[in-house]
Amino acid sequence: MLNISGIHEGFVLDHIQAGMSLQIYHDLKLDKLDCTVAIIKNAKSSKMGKKDILKVECPVEALDLDILGFIDHNITVNVIKNDKIVEKKILHLPRQVKNVISCKNPRCITSIEQELDQIFLLTDEEHEIYRCRYCEEKYRNPNRR
């Protein structure tokens, strides 16, 4: 059994789909933060079979949870303060995501003007469909459960 100590202040991101933790590590830009991060892969889960967990010791305002909601809104976010869980955050699909994914439509204006922000808008919440703000190309989240 692998033991990783608790954290004093930060987040525990639980119920990450197995294999997704490294992508989330990069998407949340945790590599840019000067803080302790534990990446736990393939932990046993009664609900999911196996899962990944991320423990991040950082100020609670340091993470952009909108991105996390976009990647997988089924992830459990436990906010830790003074060694205790003080809040369980419910993630929602963000109305808009900026510079997280890129438009794949070769006819889109973003294909030639690369300084433009890559903006996707949530157009169908039920089916988790986002569309490019400029050309309306559809993006369906491949991590959708």
């Binding site: 439509n105 006819r107 889109c108 204006i109 973003t110 294909s111 030639i112 003007e113 300084e115 433009l116 490019c132 703000r133 400029y134 050309c135 309306e136 190309e137």
Partner: protein, 308 residues
């Protein structure tokens, strides 16, 4: 300040006001002859489109305004690598309103985000061409009498034709609309239109392969071109190509007051003999395109037409 990016940018009420204004312009052109005195329209066409550009220019000249612009990317600063955002900032200093056509989808929207003047999407790739849809709506309303309670046949390339997709989106907002979709199997409307737009809104529609089968029921026939290269094999093309050519024989099957529309340019999908049929409305449609663009310019420039 408003822009026009998609035909659905206007609510049904706003659209009614715009079409009423266009109809008034048709009846009383002199009243509007100086409505835009001193105003300038910039036509920024990054790809050639003679008819759309000339229609915009004619609209502004009819209103007493003047026009400036370019008609290909080669003759604009885009050839030097200037971004659409920078170009529109500069154009905003020269003109009062801009009509932009661009081969890349979303380019007019990018322009509108940085513009100090109203921007009209005059076509962006295969994405939107809202003034064509406004033209189609004005033509139907003017010649048929209303936008609701009609059976409209859409014929040809229904898969890739953006004018057809836009027209479906715009017409389902009116009551009593029924579509007959006439196309080869390969060129049927995309599934999202069939399921998310037509079926989801309980709009009655039928899909057919032969134009002849649909003719007797139609109030409006909207023709588009079927290109040979869209077919998967030569055999199907040879088998089906004549179905999608409108001839005087097929017109005999139609109602006496049916209207034939086409966004133009026509290649061979409507025989030239049909041009003499009083039901052929496609050249009148081009005229309505000027009226609706005049109404659009007046609306976006917020000119008080009641004071004219």
């Amino acid at each position: 300040m408003r822009h026009l990016m998609s035909p659905l940018d206007f609510s049904v009420d706003e659209l009614d006001r715009l079409l009423n204004l266009a109809s008034d312009i048709e009846k009383h052109p002199q009243k509007y002859a100086h409505a835009c005195d001193g105003k300038k329209l910039a036509t920024c066409f990054y790809e050639p489109s003679t008819r759309t550009r000339l229609s915009f220019e004619a609209a502004m000249l009819n209103l007493g305004g003047s026009v400036l612009g370019f008609s290909s990317a080669d003759s604009s600063s885009a050839s030097k690598g200037e971004s659409v955002s920078d170009t529109i900032r500069v154009i905003s200093c020269y003109a009062d309103i801009c009509a932009m056509r661009h081969p890349k989808e979303g380019a007019p929207l990018v322009a509108s985000l940085k513009s100090q003047i109203p921007v009209i999407n005059a076509g962006d790739g295969g994405h939107q061409h809202p003034t064509q849809t406004l033209t189609d709506l004005l033509t139907i309303r003017s010649l048929h009498g209303e936008l609701g309670n009609l059976t409209i046949g859409l014929c040809g390339d229904l898969k890739f034709g953006r004018t057809v997709h836009s027209l479906i989106h715009a017409l389902i907002r009116y009551p009593g609309i029924r579509f007959i979709l006439i196309s080869p199997e390969e060129l049927r409307i995309p599934s999202y239109l069939r399921e998310d737009v037509l079926a989801a809104n309980n709009i009655p529609f039928t899909e057919l392969e032969r134009l002849e089968d649909a003719m007797p029921e139609l109030d409006i026939l909207y023709m588009t071109r079927v290109q040979k290269e869209r077919f998967f094999n030569e055999e199907d093309y040879v088998r089906l190509k004549n179905y999608y050519i409108l001839t005087t024989e097929k017109m005999e099957l139609a109602k006496k007051d049916m209207l034939v529309l086409h966004p133009l340019p026509r290649v061979n999908e409507i025989s030239v003999e049909v041009d003499d049929d009083p039901r052929a409305a496609y050249f009148k449609q081009a005229q309505y395109g000027v009226y609706v663009r005049m109404a659009l310019i007046l609306t976006l420039l917020e000119i008080d037409v009641n004071a004219l």
